[in-house]
């Protein structure tokens, strides 16, 4: 009798709990999104409840550090693990994964989404054979951010499109070792997305290229020697101590504390260095295009963080709905209304730059000009068989360029000569491309 009562009570309780859970949940589906931890992505997470309210689709976020995320989503997509319905990927992964059939083509986006509004450079970089595989959430290039007060004190005026010679001269003039002010701060940290990205983009403006049209390494060329020697000499003269280990965050920290005269880095940093809550020099920052050498290509890169749908997802329609919501114009307007135009995700849509409200943001036009001046299809002076500005859109690149950038960093740190670093780099690239069957 007692057992019966217990069983009845527990069954009734279980029913009540299930019914309550179903009622409280009330969502038709739940999608899981893997993303990186940066300001724009975190801001988007804060607006997710509105998406859920509008569509009834719940969203679970998996936020990871960039390199951890890359490893995690690569493992999942290559094994068809199905852990994620949307992945945040970059311009490097999108065409490679698209060509492997790992991503769902974004060719059924609605008319309201207006896919033609996406900046052509972004659309091209996230496509393979003309098919878009990832929708850009925000895009970036690189540009010069400089201290207007220090530039003025040095008696110089920053041109809108400076040359490397001017940058070096200005860096020397702004350097004040007694007050710990470094004329210029640049990335030197090993890693294909850190110092490796910067030096590759810089090399483009010096007429260098990683490989020729037959995939033979070209790091033994005079153009590469000029690039590395120029970089190293300028940084030894006017850069911070230990620049060989500085990446984006280290330089951002130095710039925000007023310890850098110039910093050439991602356009997305403009919103950080002009934010008075974080930056001591917020009211004296100017912007210019990344420098060149008069050879055609400038030294700026092109990048986008974009949302893509893995081919193995069971919730393709819901994922597409989220992508349209997050990368559409409606989201931009929502953020602008709540947090101001300076905080909207930049660099993805032409309509943002046509908006007169956004034109008032101090770095808006320079960001657009920088993005438009990067050409991933013809990134170098001499022709190359790959696409991508600061990277080669082939699967092997991340591995071998990380190794090469380590060699370069060792040279900056004085552990070997520039010539030795380039010779080692030459061997690493040739070995990797030969093993992969390119040569």
């Amino acid at each position: 009798m007692f057992m019966k009562t217990v069983l009845r009570t527990t069954s009734a309780l279980a029913l009540c709990i299930s019914a309550t859970a179903a009622f409280a949940d009330g969502h038709s589906a739940t999608i899981t999104i893997a993303t990186v931890n940066n300001g724009d992505m975190i801001r988007m997470q804060g607006y997710t409840d509105q998406f859920t309210e509008e569509t009834g689709i719940a969203v679970e976020w998996v936020t990871l550090e960039e390199n951890v995320l890359r490893q995690r989503v690569t493992t999942d997509i290559t094994t068809e693990g199905g852990q994620f319905d949307i992945m945040t990927i970059g311009m490097y992964e999108a065409p490679i994964w698209g060509s492997n059939g790992w991503l769902v083509p974004l060719d059924n986006l609605s008319a309201e989404y207006n896919v033609d509004d996406i900046l052509p450079a972004m659309r091209g970089g996230l496509s393979h054979d003309g098919t878009l595989y990832a929708a850009p959430f925000y895009g970036e290039s690189s540009m010069v951010m400089y201290r207007t007060d220090l530039m003025e004190a040095a008696g110089l005026e920053m041109p809108a499109a400076p040359t490397w010679e001017f940058i070096r001269e200005a860096a020397a003039a702004m350097t004040d070792r007694d007050n710990d002010i470094n004329g210029i701060c640049l990335r030197g940290k090993p890693g294909w997305g850190e110092g490796g990205a910067f030096i590759n983009a810089m090399a483009n403006s010096f007429g260098a290229r990683v490989v020729d049209e037959e995939w033979n390494a070209q790091l033994d060329s005079e153009a590469w020697a000029n690039t590395l020697n120029f970089y190293n000499d300028m940084m030894q003269e006017s850069g911070p101590a230990g620049f060989a280990t500085n990446g984006f965050n280290e330089n951002l920290s130095l710039f925000n504390q007023g310890l850098c005269g110039m910093w050439i880095d991602a356009t997305v940093a403009a919103s950080f260095v002009t934010n008075p809550d974080d930056s001591e020099v917020a009211d004296s920052v100017g912007f210019a295009l990344a420098p060149d050498n008069g050879l055609g290509p400038r030294s700026n890169w092109l990048w986008a963080w974009a949302l893509a749908v893995p081919a193995g997802t069971q919730q393709q329609d819901e994922a597409m709905q989220f992508i349209e919501w997050a990368t559409g114009t409606g989201y931009i307007e929502q953020v602008a209304a709540n947090e101001g135009w300076a905080n909207v995700p930049p660099g993805a849509r032409q309509s943002l730059y046509d908006n007169p409200n956004y034109a008032e943001v101090p770095f808006a036009q320079m960001t657009l000009d920088s993005i438009l001046s990067a050409n991933p299809n013809e990134p170098t002076v001499d022709p190359v068989p790959y696409t991508g500005v600061q990277f080669m859109a082939i699967p092997e690149f991340a591995g071998f360029w990380t190794e090469v950038s380590q060699e370069f960093s060792n040279a900056y740190a004085g552990q070997q000569t520039i010539e030795e670093a380039l010779a080692n780099g030459q061997a690493i690239v040739n070995e990797a491309l030969s093993a992969a069957g390119y040569q």
């Binding site: 998996v62 550090e65 995690r72 094994t79 965050n249 310890l259 001591e280």
Partner: protein
């Protein structure tokens, strides 16, 4: 006869011990302090030590952004489950190796330890594919088993070392008094090896709590523990050191508290043998 320790020598030893202690503890202290700073103060140069505007804002942001309790619960299940399961399997294994050794016991022990030398990434794909096949990706109990297997060699080795110091004659006497194998293990061996078992439990709980390769690669939402919670605050493009420090402090707090309360057992187990 023990050599007398002079007062200056004692003072010197104390000073050295304190210096080493402070050096080891300083990164943790700095993390805790940074968690109470603003992002601008977190990167200030020269760094500010104690005299800054203390704020709880970072903890508020972390609490708002992440479901801390879910991550904490997963950590407790994964670390606790794998440690207990490991002990259950390791006690009989260590007993047989310590008291009924064979010719190959030493080789087996070395072989077990050698599995720790394999880089985890080398078996990532096989394990990942197995988890897909068994439908246990993002599953706490799968991680309990995996972490137990990873830490089992250490557990067996530690217990083996403690058991070896228990005189076999005591067990023999128990057997002569009619104790069965179960009685011998439960009522004779285990009570004598309690300090050793306790320190093994604690050390392996800490190892499992801090394990960041498998817990990051095999989880996404449901089974993600505190290592994933910390990873979500690390960023190569943006200065979030204060928030990262707040998340780290929240992640290490439970294990620090556990370590604080059990330090006596931990030290005793690690520095003394079973019956000394």
């Amino acid at each position: 006869m023990a050599r007398a320790v002079t007062t200056p020598r004692k003072a010197l030893n104390t000073a050295i011990a304190w210096t080493i202690g402070i050096l080891i503890f300083f990164p943790i202290l700095w993390t805790v302090l940074t968690s109470f700073k603003t992002e601008a103060e977190a990167i200030a140069n020269p760094p500010v030590f104690l005299f800054f505007d203390w704020t709880l804002e970072n903890y508020g942001v972390v609490q708002e952004r992440s479901n801390y309790m879910r991550f904490l619960w997963n950590s407790v299940i994964i670390a606790g489950g794998s440690t207990i399961l490991g002990i259950i399997i390791a006690v009989p294994a260590a007993w047989s190796m310590a008291f009924v050794p064979s010719k190959r016991t030493k080789d087996i022990l070395l072989w077990m330890l050698s599995t720790k030398m394999l880089p985890a990434v080398g078996v990532l794909y096989p394990i990942y594919l197995l988890c897909i096949e068994l439908g246990v990706l993002d599953n706490r109990y799968a991680l309990v088993v995996i972490l137990m297997l990873i830490n089992l060699p250490i557990i067996v080795w530690m217990l083996y070392t403690y058991f070896r110091e228990i005189p076999g004659e005591i067990l023999e006497a128990a057997r002569m008094d009619g104790a069965s194998l179960k009685d011998e293990l439960l009522y004779v061996l285990t009570p004598m090896a309690v300090p050793g078992i306790a320190s093994t439990l604690l050390l392996n709980f800490i190892l499992a709590w801090n394990e960041a390769f498998w817990t990051l690669n095999l989880t996404s939402v449901d089974a993600a523990p505190l290592t994933a919670f910390i990873a979500s605050y690390s960023s190569p493009e943006g200065l979030f050191f204060a928030k990262l420090s707040a998340a780290s402090t929240m992640a290490i707090a439970p294990i620090l508290i556990l370590g604080w309360f059990s330090q006596k057992q931990l030290v005793r187990g690690l520095t003394f043998g079973a019956v000394k």
